[in-house]
Every structure is written in structure tokens, then in C-alpha cells.
């Protein structure tokens, strides 16, 4: 991770320490730890922002706040590794979209800068058990750096959840969508030009890195490279300090991306998207590149594909040996991540793997598994309590904790429900 960022956060977080009165104990619960055994009738205790105890014989101090969870289940907060939450408020209004900066090469842009902690979709998402999301800039080849955020906090620094990654939108060799009416030749030409631009950029970055490194090795004799902000921002990736998240979807592009990664010698690469990952899953597995895959709720990429290929993609990739986390690709409806996981479960992945794919696996891929992704003593107390299987639509989420904070189960959606279910006045006002 970026050293400067650590420094920045250390300063930013200086006066921010959650200090609840005593510990909070969730008792009599089924505790789905994900990484260990599931515990029946257990207690999970939190203090500050940490999980401090899990088990069936946890001693609960007198000053603890006890929440009886009989009949309820505790899960680690779900992690959505592909959203634009906090960056986009209303999809069609440019004034409310901060996910895209001008230009095709803007790796110096940081999503975390533009995250709006008060975005209306943030509470809407977290009350569904999705507590942590990767929010991504978009547009152009190097749109900027995605940030992992918890969906609670009053500043981006408070929301920051320990990972930033450089997004690379890999050149698309196919059609961009159903409205892309370019000829085959034009598509090929554009793809070639884009690949050249990509290589030129990383060649420049490599040179810049060499000059920069020799300067740092002996600053008294060396010279700093001429400052080029977009190239400068790629240094952490070239130094192996920051992951490169490559957005890539079609089989042909994935193969091209694999070849490109090998040629460049990067070992800090994550793939994201992977609509056709199943087609070349063995190749991805061979390269050992972890993948953030989704949306699962999607149509197949080709008319000739079996109708359920998008549903099965995650399962097929997993079976081939790829490390796969599930992403919703949504913004205001990132709350549907559990349903993307549910469909993946139903179409070959199975419930346990699907659960891992929205908890510990994304945490491992993003390098934050020491903090999140499972219920373990010492990890951050970011979790939720449900009355059933969280992938089922009939299940209600009862409690959400993020960083130890017990959050209200409220959002614009619930407030409008409360106000309008039995509207008063109804059809007629009181007569005077």
C-alpha cells in the first residue's frame, strides 16, 4: 500500500477513536465465522472497533451491552469488490457523478477523494449487510485508483478500509455493447492503437521508475525525472507496492491481458469483470491471478451461449482453480450483492463457497484479510445479524455493525415506507 496514504490516514485518524461505554455482546447466536467452524448458541463480543471474543463460554462483563440474538445468525459484513458507491449519486446527472475525470490516462485520480460519506445509497446498502465496498473510478484506460471503504463514517478517511488499487481498463478488442456499430476492421484498428498506447504508457513509466529509483539511490548525484503526474502515479504499481486491477471481460481480451501481464512481469495484478472468465478459466488459474467477478445477474455475452453462463461463470472459474470474489457491478443497488452470490450458489458454486466469495476471498485478494472478511478475535467488528440465510430474499437483516458502531437499520427506503404505508391524511383531510 502507498506509504504516503498510510501517513495521511494516520494523521487523519488521529482524533478518531470509537469509545463505546463497554463491550457489546451478541448472545445466543449462530455465528458463521467463515474461516472457522460455525458456532451454535454462541456469543460474539466487541469492544471499540474490534471483535474481542467469540465462543460458547464467553464471560460477559457487567458493563457490557447485551443483545440477545436467539434464533439469529451473525455473519461478517459482505464485501462488494465492484461498485461506484459514494462517487455517483444520481446516475443520469453529470453534476452528481464524480467517477470520471477528463482524459484517458488519469491514474493520479483517487476515488477516495470524491467519496461522499453522506451519499443516500450508503445506508441503503449497509442495512442489507453489505458493509464494505470497493468503489472505482471509470472511463478511459487508466481512470484512477479504486478505494475500499466501509459504509459508515463522516469523512472518507473514516470510511477507508485499507486498500487502494490502480484501475486499468484493458483495451477492448470486441464490441463495446449492443450499440457499438463499428466494423470489424475499425474495432481491430482501435484495439491495436489502444494496445500500443498502453505499452507506450508503461514503457514510459518503466523509464520514469528507473530514473526515479536511481535518484532515490543516490539523491546527491542523481536527478529526479521531469515531473509527469500521470506517470508518477504509476510508480507504486511498478514498485510492487500497489495492486494493478485490470478490468477485462471477453475471452480474447483476457488472454491478451494474461500475455501482457506476463510480458510486463507484474505479480501484483487482480482481474475484475471477467464476463467470459469461464471460457479461459484454466489459463487464468495457471497464471494465478485472482479475480473479482460479476455481475452474476447478467445475460450471456453471446447469443450462442447457454442461457445460464453468466450465473455459472463464478462456479466454472472456481472449479478451474481460480480464486474468485463476487462483485455486483452496481452502485445504488450494490445491496443486491447477496443475491448475486445466491445465484452463483444455485448455479454450481454452492452456498459455502458463495459466502466465502463475498467475505474472506475478497478480503484476501485485496490484502485486508487480517482486518476483515471473517469473524475472528482481533479483527474489525464489521458484521451483521440476520434472521436467516442472507442470500434469501425473505431474510431480514436485524443489526449491522461497522467498525464496532451499531448502526440504525434506517435508510431513505425504510423512512419512506414508515411514512407512506398508512399515509395520514389518506384520501381526505380532516374536515375543519
Amino acid at each position: 500500500m502507498n506509504f504516503l496514504l498510510v501517513l495521511l490516514l494516520a494523521i487523519g485518524l488521529g482524533d478518531y477513536t470509537p469509545e463505546p461505554e463497554g463491550p457489546i455482546a451478541l448472545t445466543n447466536a449462530r455465528i458463521v465465522t467463515v474461516t472457522g467452524d460455525t458456532i451454535e448458541h454462541g456469543t460474539l463480543m466487541m469492544q471499540g472497533d474490534r471483535i474481542i471474543a467469540i465462543g460458547t463460554d464467553v464471560e460477559i462483563p457487567e458493563n457490557a451491552t447485551v443483545i440477545d440474538c436467539t434464533g439469529l445468525i451473525i455473519y461478517p459484513g459482505f464485501i462488494d469488490t465492484g461498485t461506484q458507491l459514494g462517487l455517483v449519486e444520481v446516475g443520469s446527472l453529470p453534476e452528481t457523478r464524480d467517477a470520471r475525470e477528463l482524459g484517458d490516462f488519469s491514474p493520479q485520480m483517487k476515488a477516495l477523494t470524491a467519496v461522499n460519506p453522506n451519499g443516500v445509497a450508503i445506508p441503503v446498502t449497509r442495512v442489507s449487510g453489505v458493509t464494505t465496498v470497493l468503489t472505482e473510478p471509470s472511463g478511459g484506460m487508466l481512470p484512477g485508483q479504486a478505494a475500499l471503504i466501509n459504509l459508515h463514517g463522516y469523512t472518507p478517511a473514516q470510511m477507508y478500509a485499507g486498500f487502494e488499487g490502480m484501475i486499468l481498463s484493458f483495451p477492448n478488442t470486441g464490441r463495446r455493447g449492443r450499440f457499438d456499430s463499428r466494423s470489424e476492421e475499425d474495432i481491430e484498428k482501435a484495439a491495436k492503437a489502444a494496445m500500443k498506447k498502453l505499452d507506450d504508457t508503461f514503457d514510459s513509466a518503466a523509464l520514469y521508475h528507473r530514473i526515479d529509483s536511481s535518484y532515490h539511490a543516490s539523491p546527491e548525484v542523481g536527478r529526479r525525472p521531469e515531473y509527469v503526474p500521470s506517470i508518477d502515479a504509476l510508480l507504486p504499481v511498478l514498485r510492487g507496492e500497489q495492486d494493478l486491477i485490470i478490468q477485462v471481460n471477453t475471452a480474447k481480451d483476457i488472454l491478451a491481458a494474461l500475455a501482457w501481464v506476463e510480458k510486463r512481469g507484474f505479480d501484483n495484478v487482480i482481474f475484475t469483470g471477467l464476463a467470459e472468465g469461464w471460457r479461459v478459466a484454466d489459463k487464468i488459474a495457471e497464471a494465478g491471478i485472482p479475480c473479482l467477478v460479476g455481475p452474476v445477474l447478467a445475460v450471456p455475452t453471446r447469443n450462442s451461449d447457454r442461457y445460464d453462463k453468466a450465473y455459472r461463470n463464478v462456479a466454472l472459474m472456481h472449479a478451474a482453480g481460480v480464486k474468485v470474489a463476487i462483485r455486483s457491478g452496481e452502485t445504488e443497488n450494490a445491496r443486491n450483492l447477496p443475491y448475486n452470490a445466491g445465484f452463483a450458489a444455485a448455479y454450481g458454486l454452492g452456498k459455502d463457497e458463495a459466502l466465502r466469495a463475498v467475505t474472506i476471498i475478497p478480503a484476501e485478494i485485496l490484502g485486508v484479510a487480517d482486518e476483515r472478511g471473517s469473524l475472528e478475535v482481533g479483527k474489525e467488528a464489521t458484521l451483521f445479524v440476520s434472521d436467516g440465510d442472507p442470500f434469501e430474499t425473505r431474510t431480514q437483516i436485524r443489526h449491522v455493525f461497522i467498525g464496532g458502531y451499531h448502526l440504525p437499520m434506517e435508510s431513505r427506503h425504510t423512512r419512506l415506507y414508515d411514512e407512506f404505508l398508512s399515509r395520514d391524511p389518506g384520501l381526505k383531510k380532516h374536515s375543519p
Binding site: 449519486e89 444520481v90 446516475g91 443520469s92 446527472l93 453529470p94 443516500v120 445509497a121 470486441g174 464490441r175 463495446r176 455493447g177 449492443r178 450499440f179 456499430s181 470489424e184 471481460n249 471477453t250 475471452a251 464476463a275 467470459e276 445477474l297 447478467a298 445475460v299 455475452t301 453471446r302 447469443n303 450462442s304 451461449d305 447457454r306 442461457y307 445460464d308 453468466a310 452502485t331 445504488e332 443497488n333 445491496r335 443486491n336 443475491y339 445466491g342 445465484f343 450458489a345 444455485a346 448455479y347 442470500f391 434469501e392 430474499t393 425473505r394 431474510t395 431513505r412 427506503h413 425504510t414 419512506l416 415506507y417 407512506f420 404505508l421 398508512s422 399515509r423 389518506g426 384520501l427
Partner: protein, 458 residues
């Protein structure tokens, strides 16, 4: 209206020729039958003969020629109905004018669309294929059955289904025409007056024809008024022959259309999307003789400003306030898992299983005027069934077989990986098309250009 009468007779003849949609006979044995209108029946057989449900019970005899489906441990529900779709048509919007009542998407049906098969694989048997939302008064819609494999577009039509038409309020028509073409409407005020002016013209047009028809009885040389295809359709709305289906979001504009329709004596309307329907549920329920209906998204919101103040509890609030409500897709993707979308009404407001299933079966059927033919499992209704391996409101339910008119059109066990390959000699490769977010909100798609993207970039 003589031309219209002759035209209608001609079309009726054509239609009756084309209406011989193939039917089949099938016995679905020993399933858990979710009838929707008559509760859940365990270990029950459903018999379809020549496309109609003829018996529901136990140990039913198999008539000769009927296919037998063993549904032990499976759930059998009525074929799902999507009340708002744009699949299987080659154009969505005739966006050349704020009023285009004269056009119909029934003219551009595409029976080869893969979306039909994919819908079947999601248990969906009927779609209300709609004109887009670019115009205040858009074109007429078509209610189709997913008879995958038909080569003639006529084979998709659900013969006898009432005519419906698309209206649209709010951001879309004001953007396309007001800001896009400097044509009224540019505001919600203008939308009301485009509606009122067009209805008033239709009344005058109808009066002129009534006068002519009275005159021509005594005077064979009476001169008929000029024929106007658009006003013919508008007059048919006024006479109650066409059901209005109106794209709408905000409470104020929905109230406006109800006032306008009331003033013109139209008492049947289904509001589409109607994200702010929850705010005026009592008014919707009180409209006309039977209330205004609402066909909504399960949880879409915030993609544009007029859906910013939305709640996913819309279905529950509307249902609890007595509004006839359905959940639709407006998307070839979402269309495939409407059973899952209906399930969301249990998370958001705790609807019962039956209420949730009604949102995608009998309720949309009633809204489309086909509630006596489809939307529930009842003797006498069409043999349109969807069979799941678990309760269809469960996330883990996988559709197994889908039956239309007694014919199995989707069977998960007969779905080879390569059965969809159709080699196009012109194409160099089988092109991969990515699912993008714009695939949703098909309302503003127009043939090969994306009006929504186009306007978003203005």
C-alpha cells in the same frame, strides 16, 4: 369509421388464420402446485389438453399423446407474465414526434430474438412488449407469448389480448422533444397539454365521423372526414378499446394523468414504473371503477433524478393500500429472474408468498386484460406453466421446464451447450457483447442507437 371497420374485419380474418398457434397436451404429475388464485396444492397433477388446463387433481389419467412430466418434489406455478418488456422487437421508439399513437411495436416483432428463449428459461411465458418512453403518447404495444421457434412474427401474438398503448410523462418526453427538438413538451405542464390537446382533437374527429355516419344513411353523397390514423387510435382509447399504460415516476405527474383521464372519461390505466406510486397509493386505489393499476420495478432507483426519492417498499405499500400491482422487468436481463424480483417484496415489506407470486402472475394478467386466460393455474385457463426445483421465491430455485399452450419450450435437461449456434456467413466471429448497465432501462432505446446515452451526453 367504415374504413376502420373493413380494416378490422380484414385483420380479424388474417388474425384468425394466424391465430392457430400450436398447442400441446401435457400431464404434470405430483408437483406442489402454486395456483396463485386457489392456494397451494401438494402432490397434485395438472393436466393440459390441447393448450388448455382441463383438470387439476390427483391420479389424473393421461390422455393419449400427452407428454408426462414427473414433478415430484418440484414446484409448479403459472407461467410468469412480464407487464413491461422490450424484448423480441427490432425498434423500441418512434421518437419523431411527441404523439405517435398510430404506430405499433406489433409491426416489428422478431421471433428469432434469443431473449425469448432466455425468458422461457426464467419461467416467463408472456410479455407485454412495449413502445418506448420517448413520446408523451407513444405507440401501441403487443402482448406476446414466448412461442420460441416460431418463424412468423404472427406466431408470437397472444390472439385476443386487449390492445394497449404507451404514454410517457416526465423527464424522457421533455428531454427528447422539449430539449432535444425544441418541441412541446419541455416541462410537465407541457406534457399535460399535449395529452389534453390530443384527446380534444380525437373527440372532434370522432364527432365528425359520427355526424358523417348519421348523414350517410339519408345522403349517399355525404362527404366523409379525412382519415387520421393517429386520431383513430386516440378515439379507440376514449371508447375504452385500448388500455393506457403510462411510463411515469413522480406522484404529481401521476395525479395529473388521472385527472386528465377522468376528464375524458377513460377509467382504465396501468402506471408503469411509478416509483412514487407509494406516495399516492390511496388516490391510485380510488381511481375509476376499479382503481388505477401499478406495474413497478422491485428495487430500481437513483438512476435519474425523478427516481431519487424511491423506496423498494413500493410493492408492499401499493399492495397494502389496495392497488393492483405487478413487478416488471423493462430489461432482457431482469426479465429472466422475475421470480427473484418478486421475492424482494418479502424483504421489503413482508408480502406473503401468494401476494409475492401474484405480482408476476395474476396481477399483470389482470392489468393486461388477460386475467381470465392466464396468470393462475385454473381449469379452463391456458396451459402456461413454469416448473422449479425449489419454491420459486427462493434464491436457490432453478427453473426446470417452461410450458406455453401445453408445449414444453424450455427443458433444462434438453438444453445442449451448442443448441443456440446459428452460423452467420457474413460474420467473421461470434461477437461477444458485454452486458452494460444501459441494457437496463430499455425504454429509451431506439433500434440501434441508445437514446438514453445520447441524451445523457447532451
Amino acid at each position: 369509421m367504415k374504413q376502420l371497420f373493413l380494416l378490422t374485419c380484414g385483420l380479424a380474418l388474417l388474425a384468425s388464420a394466424a391465430a392457430q398457434a400450436p398447442t400441446g397436451s401435457v400431464l404434470v404429475r405430483d408437483g406442489t402446485v402454486l395456483t396463485v388464485t386457489d392456494g397451494t396444492l401438494e402432490n397434485t397433477d395438472v393436466l393440459v389438453v390441447d393448450g388448455r388446463i382441463t383438470a387439476i387433481g390427483s391420479d389424473l389419467d393421461t390422455p393419449a399423446g400427452a407428454e408426462i412430466i414427473e414433478a415430484g418434489g418440484m414446484y409448479v406455478m403459472p407461467g410468469i407474465i412480464d407487464a413491461h418488456s422490450h424484448i423480441a422487437i427490432s425498434n423500441v421508439n418512434e421518437s419523431s414526434a411527441p404523439v405517435t399513437a398510430q404506430v405499433t411495436v406489433g409491426d416489428v416483432l422478431n421471433p428469432y430474438s434469443i431473449a425469448l428463449y432466455r425468458a422461457l428459461a426464467g419461467g416467463v411465458t408472456t410479455s407485454h412488449v412495449m413502445h418506448g418512453s420517448a413520446n408523451v403518447i407513444g405507440g401501441q404495444n403487443e402482448t406476446i407469448k414466448h412461442r420460441w421457434g416460431a418463424v412468423d412474427p404472427e406466431g408470437l401474438r397472444m390472439a385476443g389480448a386487449p390492445r394497449t398503448i404507451k404514454f410517457a410523462l416526465g423527464e424522457n418526453p421533455t428531454r427528447v422533444h422539449g430539449r432535444g427538438n425544441n418541441l412541446r413538451p419541455a416541462s410537465r405542464m407541457g406534457v399535460e397539454y399535449v395529452l389534453r390537446e390530443t384527446f380534444n382533437k380525437a373527440i372532434r374527429y370522432q364527432e365528425a365521423w359520427d355526424r358523417y355516419e348519421a348523414q350517410v344513411r339519408s345522403n349517399r353523397r355525404a362527404v366523409p372526414p379525412a382519415y387520421n390514423g393517429q386520431l383513430e387510435v386516440m378515439a379507440d382509447i376514449l371508447s375504452g378499446d385500448i388500455i393506457v399504460n403510462c411510463h411515469s415516476y413522480r406522484a404529481d405527474e401521476i395525479l395529473m394523468l388521472m385527472r386528465v383521464l377522468e376528464d375524458f372519461g377513460v377509467d382504465r390505466v396501468t402506471f408503469q414504473h411509478v416509483n412514487e406510486g407509494f406516495k399516492i397509493a390511496p388516490e391510485l386505489a380510488a381511481f375509476g371503477a376499479e382503481g388505477a393499476a401499478a406495474s413497478i420495478f422491485a428495487d430500481w432507483w437513483a438512476y435519474k433524478f425523478e427516481v431519487y426519492y424511491s423506496t423498494a417498499y413500493n410493492a408492499a405499500i401499493l399492495t397494502r393500500n389496495g392497488v393492483l400491482t405487478s413487478i416488471n422487468s423493462d430489461s432482457a436481463e431482469l426479465n429472466r429472474h422475475l421470480y427473484h424480483e418478486a421475492g424482494k417484496s418479502q424483504k421489503y415489506g413482508g408480502l406473503t408468498d401468494n401476494e409475492a407470486l401474484a405480482l408476476i402472475t395474476i396481477n399483470p394478467a389482470k392489468q393486461l386484460g388477460i386475467g381470465d386466460r392466464v396468470g393462475s393455474i385454473e381449469v379452463g385457463k391456458d396451459g402456461d406453466l413454469a416448473i422449479f426445483d425449489a419454491h420459486p421465491l427462493s434464491i436457490y430455485a432453478v427453473p426446470q421446464k417452461t410450458i406455453v399452450d401445453g408445449i414444453v419450450y424450455f427443458d433444462i435437461d434438453r438444453d445442449a451447450d451448442d443448441m443456440r449456434l446459428r452460423v452467420d456467413p457474413e460474420a467473421a466471429i461470434d461477437t461477444a457483447i458485454l452486458h452494460t448497465h444501459d441494457d437496463h432501462h430499455q425504454c429509451l432505446h431506439e433500434g440501434s442507437i441508445d437514446l438514453y446515452g445520447f441524451l445523457a451526453n447532451e
